[in-house]
């Protein structure tokens, strides 16, 4: 294809740098400086996509973020597929590959389009709701059909190959938008010594100045922009972010900026460079200089390719050197629309006429048209466009003064391009993100930012200020105001000199009348992306939807990826008109982040793959990996789950680990247990208040198990606490509860009992903890220490310091297996050394490493609970049959005491933890199974509690389980039944949860 619409000269493109690209399989050439949209227009591409519902051919309408139609799929490879890219914002690079998002088999010959043509009138708003409601059973069938036809683009099926980054930024002043207002604001703020960030979504700073032919102080706007940008670049503490969209404005001036670092360079980001960077900015002041977006006019068949906004026409000519047609007609409600006619004419192409909806127009624009010999038709409107894949002609008819009626016959004009201007809508989106509602301003016929609690200033187009000189003034003023509020000294700055014109008042016109009523006129599109028409909005209102939020949801107005940037105001005005309300009465829908669609990559940053979530390791991790451990996630910790030998099944490995421990000696890495160092003269008192049992008399050198409850009396953690010195304790917590318990201690100390002299410090990571367990554990340990390990001198629940394998250690004689056990704590940098030395001496005892699964089985054989597995936040110590761990005689009403005494907590039929022995010893009840007392009871059967722990016990030769059973503690020997999903029922007998060594002799040897 040749660039038939490319002008010979002009624009900010480099004609010496051609770039080839592919669109829908066709090779084309554009230039450095093009966007994909300008390159497509240069190549004469009219149809860039199909509409969502009716599959009508659609062309490029705008030149910016508000583009509803040219939403393309990007990517030369599967891994680089990116959906939802606005061609108007995508810079062209050599080798770019893009395709239309909708349309099958192709955008030019679309199957759904033919259906849409015939069925269009039969697809009113709510069509899907109405049609696919009944019968409900067929919804899945409908959904498949709808999904296939719906959607904008697709995500990649492969992993993204690029890197995405995130950065936290802080500044005094964040200026959003680098148009004339933003540049002035940034300059004023920077000159005053503020830390400034200036962000703009475009590749170049300058905003609207890049699109026109303004002169500033007699020179091209270009020169002024360069001067300002150069100064800003040289100023310390000024960060300039082009290609960066400020996408979200959150509480207390926290904003997110989506910077596209390398989207303009190639399909993949350069090696080691991020593709996008998300800046998370905390700004003391925000200056919104986001400008305004032009409203297109709504008229019959206004979606036929060739219909554009008037600024888009000017932008393509002035910035990109592209005139997207031969013969233009302009329709406008205001003076600004005339610019397109001037630019088009000056580019050497034909302007048939300017259709002005106002009765009269005088002054500068009239002169400009006369100079160029362009006809103005006042009091008229384009009521309808003719054509299919490109505008062929328009019907122009006279309308009445308020634009509500066609008052004469229409004349047909042959043109191929329609530029329309319905005035400006300030880009208020960001100011609304934190809940502020915009306010209607009749003078400018648009919404402007409303009151906000954010430290926010606004300047330029966003305020409805459009005259360049005033825009400059507002920009400088906002910059100075920000400085003042920050206590900085503003410097004097001159407002740049520009030519200004007296303007005729604009006309408020949101729907161009047609001689037929709305419902019968050719489709008058309001929201292109969702095929929302004026008739559709009228129908929604007639069907009773009054709130604009309801109209939005029923018609899908503003639902698209463009969030209705182009169509919302027109749509709301039409809804207001139908309901005989004013626009301020109707109000707006809520604008939410993000301003433009953002990639998941930019949101995820580098928190993906290996770095998705921290993996916490103990000091023994290298050994575990080298010895074939499989790992289980416990919180963020990676804990060995079990250590299979080559070819060994999980159950076989567990059986081996369990037997070895009971018969000789096993070893567990218990380093992940939470450990809290507690010191102070009131440490003991504090323990007594947070544990349910007594601590007043625990002597130095002794350990004690404790249960920790909430104020409601329910268990939330447990562990062993050892008395290191009279005022010094070491508390252990569950692995998952470590942080929670420390915070629990702190909150009570800091808010309730600050008078208690006690300090808590986490030493979880400081100590490596390894537990050797089993009848040979003493023999093994004796080989590595000179401590007296005899039962008389080092009894159960004692602890001592001694060297183990040459390393100073604390040895705790505590047991979670019911076997003779020693828990060895050494400074973590020596954990692996001691662990290795244990193995160096352990071979003759068949020292066997075991993981969390065997730990669970061994403790279940002994009926020891795991907080969080056998308890669920609704279980108190008595429910567990652990009344022995509750000391109600303590003088202080410890945490949990009052809660446990509540009426509901003393019911005899509470769910209580019991052992469960299956009638068939080989059956292991699935954990979580719900029990019933009568398996023949009609469904729904009354459920009496669930199985909390259930395993095969190789040591006992039968399955073991624990579970909560209503009134279970007084039902020993009775049967409980566990119906399964497959219809079978597992029968079990309620028994003591202590299956092995009920007298506890093994740990006391």
């Amino acid at each position: 294809m040749n660039q038939k619409n490319r002008l010979q000269s002009g624009g900010r493109i480099d004609r010496n740098q051609p770039m080839s690209f592919e669109f829908n399989g066709q090779l084309m050439v554009g230039y450095q400086g093009d966007t994909l949209a300008s390159a497509l227009l240069a190549n004469g591409v009219d149809v860039v996509g199909r509409s969502f519902k009716y599959s009508r051919p659609r062309g490029i309408v705008t030149a910016g973020a508000d583009e509803p139609n040219a939403v393309v799929q990007l990517g030369a490879t599967e891994a680089t597929q990116t959906p939802n890219v606005r061609a108007t914002q995508q810079e062209l690079f050599d080798g770019l590959v893009a395709g239309s998002t909708n349309g099958w088999p192709s955008v030019d010959n679309d199957f759904m389009g033919m259906v849409g043509k015939i069925g269009g009138s039969m697809m009113p708003p709510g069509f899907y709701y109405k049609t696919f409601m009944f019968p409900q059973s067929l919804w899945e069938t409908y959904e498949t059909f709808i999904r296939k036809a719906a959607g904008l683009g697709r995500s990649s099926k492969e992993s993204d190959v690029d890197v995405y980054d995130r950065m936290n930024q802080f500044c005094d002043v964040l200026v959003v938008g680098a148009g004339p207002a933003g540049l002035c604001a940034a300059l004023a703020a920077a000159r005053g010594g503020a830390r400034v960030i200036l962000a703009d979504e475009q590749s170049e700073f300058g905003g609207s100045l890049l699109d026109g032919k303004e002169t500033i102080s007699g020179k091209p706007a270009d020169e002024w922009i360069n001067k300002v940008v150069t100064e800003l670049e040289k100023t310390e503490d000024v960060l300039l972010l082009p290609r960066s969209t400020v996408n979200g404005y959150h509480d207390q001036n926290f904003l997110t900026i989506h910077q596209r670092c390398s989207d303009h360079l190639s399909d993949r980001a350069p090696t080691n460079q991020p593709r996008h960077r998300m800046h998370r900015v905390r700004a003391k002041r925000v200056i919104l200089a986001t400008g305004a977006q032009e409203r297109p006019l709504v008229f019959g068949n206004n979606d036929i390719p060739g219909c554009m906004t008037s600024t888009a026409v000017s932008t393509y000519i002035n910035r990109y050197g592209v005139a997207p047609g031969e013969n233009l007609v302009v329709m406008t409600t205001n003076d600004y629309g005339y610019q397109a006619a001037m630019d088009w004419h000056d580019a050497g192409r034909k302007v048939s006429c300017v259709v002005d909806t106002r009765e009269t127009v005088t002054g500068y624009v009239v002169d400009a048209m006369h100079e160029r010999g362009i006809r103005i038709m006042t009091g008229s409107a384009i009521t309808e466009v003719h054509g299919s894949k490109r505008v062929k002609a328009v019907s122009i008819a006279p309308i009445n003064e308020d634009g509500s009626k066609v008052v004469g016959p229409a004349a047909k004009w042959n043109v191929d391009t329609v530029a329309s201007s319905g005035g400006w809508s300030p880009a208020v989106h960001l100011s609304c993100h934190t809940g502020s509602r915009p306010v209607w301003n009749d003078d400018i016929i648009g919404f402007v930012p409303g009151p906000t609690v954010q430290k926010q200033l606004t300047a330029g187009g966003i305020n409805g200020c459009y005259e360049l000189e005033n825009v400059f003034k507002e920009g400088l003023g906002a910059g100075k105001q920000a400085l003042k509020e920050l206590g900085l000294e503003p410097t004097r700055l001159m407002t740049p000199k520009v030519e200004s014109h007296e303007r005729n008042p604009a006309m408020a016109l949101f729907l161009v009348p047609h001689r037929k009523p709305m419902s019968r006129a050719p489709k008058q599109f309001v929201d292109y992306q969702n095929d929302v028409t004026a008739g559709g909005i009228e129908l929604a209102c007639r069907e009773g939807f009054q709130s604009i939020e309801h109209v939005k949801r029923y018609t899908a107005l503003g639902f698209g990826t463009d969030q209705g940037k182009l169509g919302n105001i027109n749509g709301m005005a039409i809804a207001a008109q139908v309901q005989n309300k004013t626009l301020p009465e109707t109000g707006t829908t809520v604008f939410r982040p993000n301003y433009t669609p953002i990639t998941f990559g930019a949101i995820a940053g580098r928190d993906c793959g290996e770095l998705f979530d921290p993996k916490r390791y103990t000091a023994m991790q290298p050994w575990h990996v080298a010895n074939g451990a499989l790992f289980e996630d416990v919180g963020q910790w990676k804990r060995p789950w079990y250590f299979p030998k080559p070819g060994e099944s999980m159950q076989a490995a567990l059986n081996r680990e369990c037997k070895a421990t009971r018969e000789s000696v096993g070893i567990l890495d218990a380093s992940t247990l939470g450990k809290i160092d507690i010191q102070g003269k009131d440490a003991r008192e504090f323990l007594g208040r947070v544990y349910t049992n007594a601590w007043a008399k625990l002597p130095v050198g002794k350990c004690r198990y404790g249960l920790m409850c909430g104020e409601d009396g329910m268990i939330f953690d447990d562990g062993v606490t050892s008395c290191l010195g009279e005022n010094h304790f070491l508390m252990t917590t569950t692995t998952g509860g470590a942080a929670r318990v420390l915070e629990w201690l702190e909150i009570y100390h800091q808010t309730e009992w600050p008078e208690l002299e006690v300090y808590f410090n986490s030493v979880t990571d400081h100590w490596s903890t390894m537990t050797i367990s089993g009848p040979n554990s003493r023999k093994l340990l004796a080989e590595l220490t000179d401590a007296d390990l005899s039962n008389d001198n080092f009894g159960f629940m004692d602890w001592k310091t001694a060297n183990v394998a040459g390393v100073p250690a604390r040895i705790f004689r505590i047991s979670f297996t019911g076997e003779l056990s020693y828990e060895i704590n050494v400074q973590a940098n020596y954990g692996l050394h001691v662990w290795e030395q244990l193995f160096a001496h352990g071979e003759k005892y068949n020292l066997t490493p075991y993981g969390t699964e065997t730990m669970h089985i061994l403790r279940a054989e002994k009926g020891f609970i795991i907080a969080g597995q056998d308890t669920d936040g609704a279980v108190h110590p008595h429910d567990l049959g652990m009344s022995w761990a509750v000391a109600n005689s303590k003088p202080f009403s410890y945490i949990g005491k009052r809660g446990m005494a509540r009426e509901d907590c003393v019911r005899p039929d509470r769910k209580q933890l019991v052992g469960l022995k299956t009638t068939d010893p080989n059956v292991v009840i699935p954990e979580g199974s719900q029990g019933v007392f009568d398996p023949k009871a009609p469904i729904p059967m009354p459920m009496v509690g669930h199985v909390t722990s259930s395993y095969w016990s190789e040591n006992l030769g039968h399955s073991i389980a624990m579970g909560l059973v209503k009134g279970g503690l007084s039902k020993m020997g009775e049967k409980v039944y566990y119906p399964q999903a497959d219809g079978s029922v597992i029968e079990a007998e309620i028994c003591s949860p202590v299956f092995l060594d009920p007298k506890g002799e093994r740990q006391n040897v």
Partner: protein, 215 residues
């Protein structure tokens, strides 16, 4: 060394003799080899300081006797001013909280300090050896501050984060105590169990500037 109840010591020398080499949380990453074989030039330099002696001191900042005694024992001023640090010969003290400081000394000196405090520190206090649970990294270079900005939600501008300032904060998805050693040099004290994760993170975040590893 003070003896309490038989074998139970209030202050415990936790380090073995020199014949047993401690292994830092990043021992497995073999940073010496990475340093020797990796790039020698780049915008970010990461250095690991393994086996530093680290202790948490808790005491009452409002108790002048305690503050004076602690300053004397440490050999540097113990500051009450939030987010500050002080450093002297072989010792650095970081403000962590109104009643908490993080002290670093040579690994072998931790026990001496514990003993000295045990003997001479008056009043209610706690000095807890945490050297095994933490490790120290240093991030420096032209782009060090950029890596910090990627990783922590804190303002690193020199006006608000001058040399000597200490901040404990979220660091990637873990946490760190950050001290600014120079305009372009930061010390990180991180938790042992997160060391591998943070090492991977820092490598990844530094890549666009070029990473140099030093031992």
């Amino acid at each position: 060394m003070s003896e309490a109840n038989n074998n139970v010591r209030l202050v415990m020398d936790q380090l073995p003799g020199d014949d047993i080499q401690g292994r830092s949380p990043l021992h497995h990453a073999d940073l010496a080899t990475v340093a020797a074989q990796g790039s020698q030039e780049g915008g970010v330099t990461i250095q690991h300081h393994p086996l530093v002696g680290l202790l948490t001191l808790r005491c009452n900042a409002g108790d002048a006797d305690q503050m004076a005694a602690a300053s004397k024992l440490l050999g540097v001023e113990l500051h009450c001013q939030p987010l500050t640090s002080s450093a002297g010969e072989g010792v650095a003290v970081r403000w962590m909280s109104p009643d908490e400081w993080l002290i670093s000394v040579d690994g072998a000196k931790a026990f001496d300090l514990e003993t000295a405090f045990h003997n001479d520190m008056p009043g209610h206090y706690a000095l807890v050896n945490v050297g095994g649970g933490l490790t120290v990294l240093e991030v420096s270079g032209e782009h060090a501050v950029d890596v910090m900005m990627k990783t922590a939600p804190v303002d690193f501008h020199l006006n608000t984060f001058p040399v000597g300032k200490v901040v404990s904060t979220v660091f990637a998805k873990s946490s760190a105590t950050i001290r600014r050693l120079a305009d372009d040099r930061f010390e990180l004290v991180i938790r042992r169990s997160f060391a591998d994760y943070l090492w991977l993170w820092l490598q990844d975040a530094s890549r666009e500037y070029g990473l140099v590893v030093r031992t």
